[in-house]
Each structure stands twice: as C-alpha cells, then as structure tokens.
Symmetry: C2
Subunit: 421 residues, 2 copies
C-alpha cells in the first residue's frame, strides 16, 4: 500500500507513482483529454487523463488518485498527475448550489450561510479560518510567553455578567440560569490565583438587532493581569499580543504594521479633534459614535502612520461599574478602546480592586451589592491592582481581511434569525 502524498508535496516526487486524495474540485472534458483538479487541505493538484469518461465523477466527489508526478509549466503549481487511476471514496457528489472552483465565491452571504458546511470548502472562504486559527495561536503564544495561564470558566451563570439586558436564559435543573456574556468576573477572580490569565471561549449575547458586527455567540479573547500600575500596563500587554497575532498570520495574508508603541489619544482630546476638524461637535457626549471612530482611525493613519489607535479615558458614565476611575481626572476612567481600521476592536482597562470601592460604585449606580455577592467576596480577601481586555475574534479577522460583516469570519453564525446549520 502506498501512502498518500499531499498536493503541496508533489514537487518532491517528480517521476514517481504516487497516491493523492481529495475532492474533485474541477473537471473539464476536452475532446481527447480530461483535466481533473483535486483539492486537498494543502492545495490543488491537476490530474490529466487521456481516456475520456473514466473520470466522470461530479465535482466534490471524494477520490483517491494514483498517477505519475509530471512537471508541466501549464499545470497549476507546475506539476500534474498523468496516467491516473481513480478510486471514488464517496458516493458521486450532489452539486452544491454554487461553484466552488471559481476564483471567488459568487453566492450571497445568506446562501453561503445556509450551505456553510459546503460553502466553506471554497479555498478563499476556508483561508479566512486559517487566519482565525493562526490569530488565536498568536494570542496564546504571546501570553504564554508573558507568564499567563490559560483558563476555562463556566458559561452557565446564576446572574447576568455585565447587565441584565441581552442575556439568554436557560432552564438549569428547574432553576433559572443564564449564558455568560463574558468571563469578566471569573477572570478577575483568577487574577487572585494566577496573577495573569487568559481565556479563548464562546460568549453569548441575545442581540436583538440584526447588524453586521454583532452575533448571538462569538469567540472572546480575554486576558486579565494583576500588579499593574494602571491601564497603561494593560495596553502594553495588549500591544504585544496584537503584534504576536499579526506575526502569526503574516505568512497567510498581508498584515498591518503594529507600531512599537501604538499611538494613544485621550477621549476628551479625541472629541476636541473631531470638533475642530469635522462638522460634528461631540463634546459632552459620553461615548464615541461609529463615525467618530472612523474619523479617528483615519486621523491616526495621517498623523502617526498607524492603523491602530488607543482611545483612553472614556467617561465613567459609559463604562461598567468595575471600571477604575482616573485618579487625576474625575469623571474619566482608566479604560481604553483599541481602534483598528475604523472600528473598536478591543475594550479594556484597569478595574477596581478594593472591596469598598466596589460597594461605593454599585451604590452610586443605584445597584444592590447583594446581587453581586459571589463576585464581590473575592475582593475582601486581597486583590492586587489589575486590568485586562477582551477582543472579539470574528471581528478581528473581519477587520484584518477587510470584510464588512462578522458572519464572513464565523463558521456557523448564530443570530436573531439564524440557528442552523
């Protein structure tokens, strides 16, 4: 029995009789010759058959092909298999409702999503998830190198993490429970154990709006670290992490440069800039509008040559109760967003770490600390100054690849309307 050779390895076997296996990507029958392109996980291999008809297998049928590796400049990749013998490994495939062999995917997003298990086979679509996988590998290896510990925390929780809104309820053995909107509370508690933790896992938001940037489930890249001076230490770790992610995908797709220090602008200064240079005057608003994020991103490219921009110091009013205030500027916080190509990619900041500060923050917002008892308890037992950040994986890949909808970078999206496949 000869073992399988991958498409990418054909050049190492010129003149040899080998076995390849994969999907019939494209079949073209000419008068005296049939070209069959076979797709495997590494690429495409052309098979040339002189005996017309013997390879009458529909596209997407899975085949094993024995043949002789022959150099041919016209063949994709420069090599092809000649004198082939075909053995089908699947039933003849039913044609998918789009052509997987064309350079681009012509079908609309809804059609692609309806038929995701087959549509994702398109090399261009598939490549996006190679970028996703490499990004996560870069995220992890960077944080591993910085002394972080990977954790796995509950996705079923007894109360809403961030707010009561947009949370999925579950029947938990007859009790009411919820799907976790973030690992926020867990990762903070785990700073008390490991000092530095990260988690890559699903988070759930019952988003009632049908937008291009929100999903009911997405993959959150979360990190949290203790013994920080303030949010700037968190930003430095985030910069390293993004650089590690970019390095990890650099072999697959073109990547942006990550400056040694990502430029940073305070929220108040950002509003001043927008007021001075655009027709808008956002001063006094507690948050940035999407159009303002886009303008600031363009400004950072013009001013610093950077596609990344930190906006720091968001008003306390619009940040969660666990946000640490800026000790020098009342009303502003030790928080940040990282903008990338016009969109908020990461949110983070320093958190409160003293129990008394939590009580005061909750009371100031009219919330009952009793509802957060489990979360707050850890702060009575000694917690260091700490902070962290969260990045949406699908959003990262979409921005990196210039795709306007996060559904293009989610294998099987879940949203208001979509629960299958």
């Amino acid at each position: 029995m000869i073992s399988r050779v991958l498409a990418v390895d054909l050049p190492r076997h010129v003149g040899e009789r080998v076995k390849i296996a994969g999907w019939v990507h494209r079949r073209r029958e000419l008068k005296s010759v049939t070209f069959v392109v076979v797709r495997d996980r590494t690429g495409l291999a052309q098979v040339v058959s002189r005996s017309a008809g013997e390879s009458g297998l529909p596209e997407e049928t899975v085949v094993e092909v024995r043949g002789t590796v022959t150099a041919n400049e016209q063949a994709p990749g420069g090599y092809e298999l000649t004198e082939p013998e075909f053995v089908p490994l699947s039933e003849p495939a039913v044609p998918p409702p789009f052509d997987l062999y064309r350079p681009g995917m012509a079908a609309s997003l809804p059609t692609v999503l309806d038929h995701a298990p087959v549509a994702l086979r398109h090399p261009k679509l598939r490549e996006r998830f190679a970028v996703t996988a490499a990004s996560v590998a870069g995220f992890r290896s960077t944080l591993d190198g910085l002394g972080f510990t990977e954790t796995h925390t509950p996705k079923i929780v007894s109360s809403a993490t961030e707010s009561g809104a947009n949370v999925f309820g579950i029947d938990y053995f007859g009790r009411r429970a919820y799907l976790a909107q973030s690992p926020q509370f867990f990762k903070q508690a785990l700073v008390g154990v490991f000092e530095r933790v990260y988690e890559v896992g699903p988070v759930f938001r019952a988003e009632p709006h049908d937008t291009a940037r929100h999903l009911a489930q997405y993959t959150s890249l979360d990190a949290e670290l203790g013994f920080v001076t303030d949010h700037r230490d968190v930003m430095a770790v985030l910069r390293e992490t993004v650089a590690g992610m970019v390095d990890a995908v650099a072999g697959i797709v073109p990547v942006p440069e990550v400056p040694a220090e990502i430029p940073s602008v305070h929220f108040a200064d950002a509003q001043e800039l927008i007021a001075r240079h655009t027709d808008d005057d956002p001063r006094g608003e507690p948050d940035l509008a999407p159009a303002h994020e886009r303008w600031l991103s363009e400004w950072a490219v013009r001013t610093y040559g950077s596609e990344f921009l930190f906006v720091t110091g968001y008003p306390m009013a619009k940040r969660p109760f666990y946000t640490h205030p800026d000790p020098d500027r009342p009303g502003y916080s030790n928080s940040f967003d990282l903008l990338f190509r016009g969109l908020e990619l990461v949110t983070g900041g320093q958190r409160l770490h003293r129990h008394a500060d939590y009580l005061a923050a909750l009371l100031a917002r009219g919330e009952d600390p009793a509802g957060y008892r489990d979360y707050l308890d850890v702060f009575t037992h000694g917690m260091p100054p700490h902070g962290g950040f969260a990045m949406g994986l699908e959003r990262w890949t979409a921005r990196l690849l210039g795709l306007g909808n996060v559904r293009w970078t989610t294998l099987f999206p879940r949203d208001l309307h979509r629960l299958t496949p």
Copy 2:
C-alpha cells in the same frame, strides 16, 4: 521606580535592593523578628523584619515589599528579603475559611468549591490548573504539527446532538434551542473543509445524577480527521496526542509512560478475559461496567506494563448512530475507548461517511432522518472516510493527578446542585 522581581528570580539579585509583590502567604511573629512569606505566581519569598509589628498585615493581603536579597539556607528557596519596607496594595484581607499556607488543603470539597476564588490560591490546588493548561497546550501543539486546524463551533443548536436526553434548553429569541452536548456534527462537517480539525471548548450535559465523574459543563478536547482507512488511523493520532500532552506536563508533575504503541484489546476478547479471570461473566452484555474497565486496566499494566489500554470494536448497539460498523464482524463497530488508570478517558472511532449509510442507520434505529437534515446534507456533497475522538479535559487531569472527583480539576464546577460561584 524599580521594577518588580518575581520570587523565582531572587537568586539572580543577591545583595541587591529589589521590589517583590504578592500575597501575604504566612506571617509568623517571634519575639524580635517577624517572618512574612510572600506568594506570587512563581513561588514563595520569605521576608524577615526586625522591627516587630510594622508588617501586621493579615494573610492574603496584597503587598509590595522592597528589601535586600540575602542568601539564607534556612529560608524557603534559599534566599530571603531583609531590611524590608512594606506597602499594602489591597485592604487588609479578611481571612479565608481555611489556611492557604498549610502544605495540604484541609477543607472538604464542598467548602473548597463554595470558596473557589480564594481556595484555588492554595499552591497545591493552583498547580492542578497549571497541569490542565499545559495539557491543552500539548494537545494543540501535537495536532497543529499533524496538519489540524483549530475551530470554534456553535454552542447553541437547534436540536440535541447525541440524543434527546440530558440536554439544556434555552429560550432563543422566542424559539426553543439547546446547548450543544458535543461539537460532533460540526467537526464532521468541517472534515469536508479542513480534513483535520480540533476544538477545545465547553460542552453541556444536563446530568441528572450527582457523580464524581460527570459535570453539567466540561471542557471537551475534540479532534476529527478525514482520509482514514479505519479507526486504527484515529487511534494512532490519539496516541501521538496523548504523548504530546504527557510531554507537556512532564515538567510539573510525575507522568505515565505512553507506549510507542498503546496495547489494544477487542471488546469481545476483553469480555472473554473478564469471564475467564474473574467471577463475572459479562459476555453478551453490550458495554463494559466500570469494574470491568478497572480490571482491564490492571490487566494491561500486568501484561503490557501500560497504564493506557485501547478497547476496540464496541457493539454497534451501544454506540451512536454515526458509528461505522466493523465490515468483518457484524454487530461490532470500528470504535474504541481509551482506558487510563481504570477509567474511560477517550471515546472515538470511525464514522459513517456515505449518505445512504446514514439513512439506513437512522431508519434501523427507528429515527426519522428528517430530524437530522442539516447534519445529513453534507454527506450528499462528498465526504471522505473519517473518524475522531473526544476527551474530557477535567477527567484527564483528575486521572493524571490521582484525584477521585472531576470537581477537583474544574475551576468553578457546574452540576445538579451547584451554579455558583
């Protein structure tokens, strides 16, 4: 400002004035001297103070300490900080309901779980999760090296994955949905895209029983690969993966040897062995009882010197409908379990890959294929022979560390009774 030195790095700074930071692990006041042991993520550092009282900080209070690194054979690790200045970074800590500084954790499992965010700080408990993290890193790096792609699939699904039982229901925008019991259907579909995929993620089982080996949420290490001859190719990849996991934790805890080829016994032969050598006669039973798994594990140690044992060929009757039958032994399957130290650690096997076989398998079980339409559709579009496996991460760590309850290796377990912290 001097930067922080970690406990593990003190030997490199003898004679220098340094800053350390961490938790007051243990404080002992003698007549003329106070010993304060500070714990950080790398270990313990002893601080010696001659001016009694100045370090009157309760255990678990977070502190920064400046001091001079001094060699002292009596000190834990051989070095200590002298002439210290203490700066508390947290409020004085409320003492936890157990002593974190004792060599072992004296509290019972329920007490530990009730106070997990603080209990996990105990170095012995914490170490278990370093083993968990390293295991997952070994799982991934092995599969990355074998050409696998990491994926992230939906945890919210429209129907139960494996069976209707033990599934959590959710209210999904007014529709009924469920928490995924496994990524089984997704990983099979993704074999059609990437050939080789893995996922590390939460799975959910509404286990109505309170046992030492089941949880409502656990972390599943899933892999699936195409172009296999049969289940033996899957077992070979699993053996590599387990060896990679063992290598990854070898620096932290003692590890078992993974044989170059893990011994394997067919289910029918395993029953014969048990009938011949014990008072039990399980022949005719469709599955192995826990006592039989224990006996087989001991037998593998005696016979092969291996703590790992594959049992292959489980009867079709007890395996899921997607299981590939053994073409040579009707009634038996191309499936396997991997036993480790008396317990089933991994389940896997070859799956059906032809659409017609799926229809026949479901009809033979009296199930309506219409209920599996999304899943089955992919098999009409060309799927290669494939198989895979799933391992419970918490169970792996528990077995490896000789712990009898998976709750000891879960940060924040979820079960019939426990939804917090």
